[in-house]
Symmetry: C2
Subunit: 106 residues, 2 copies
Amino acid sequence: MGLTKTDLFTENQNEIAILAKAIAHPARVAIIEYLLKVNACICNDIVNELPLAQPTISQHLKELKNAGIIKGNIEGNAICYCINEQVFGKIQVLFGHILPIQNKCC
Amino acid sequence: MGLTKTDLFTENQNEIAILAKAIAHPARVAIIEYLLKVNACICNDIVNELPLAQPTISQHLKELKNAGIIKGNIEGNAICYCINEQVFGKIQVLFGHILPIQNKCC
DNA sequence: AATCTATATCGTAATATTGCAATATAAAAA
DNA sequence: TTTTTATATTGCAATATTACGATATAGATT
């Protein structure tokens, strides 16, 4: 198989999983961190910043964009990427709301 | 290839990616939510709760345990699982600290 | 127009993940 | 001790991910 049975779970569970999956690669974590550091957006700079080939970066950017974590604005012949604040805030809510108050293990 | 180039990234970036990967499946999100709901720990209950076969659940539990998100205590012939508060708190810190204050896209 | 720069897409090889039936293990109950 | 209950492991098929060279696309520069 190898196919996640998405339909067996709630929309919320799938949403959390999709966002987590987008973050589940060190290169994508590095891209997010870089975009947050430089605040304003760059793109070829990411290729120069990370030790991966251009098509690989492009692929990771696409996944982050699909998950809604980043946005890309066309600017001449370049594309300017930046964090999508809304979705980024959502991540923090989703990952923050499941905090256990008390947890007594047996 | 298909092999993540872990050595090219920082320990922190890899740590975030590993934790995110553990959460990056709706079944594992469901397991975490269930464990938080019942607070005390169960195991065969998870198999009855989720619409997946027992070996599949066992595999997901193993991944959550490897990431340190849950703990398992042997209790007779059963194994009692529960959330690992420490690691769970860490997730919130890691996913919370990267909050952008301002984000002006170009 | 020819070239350069920036980015995306295609194709493909290597590897990882998902899911489960079958089976193993081990403690509890009969 | 046989059986039941609870969980893990193995093996395998289907699919997904990762990485990148080659190539395509498209605006900018010359």
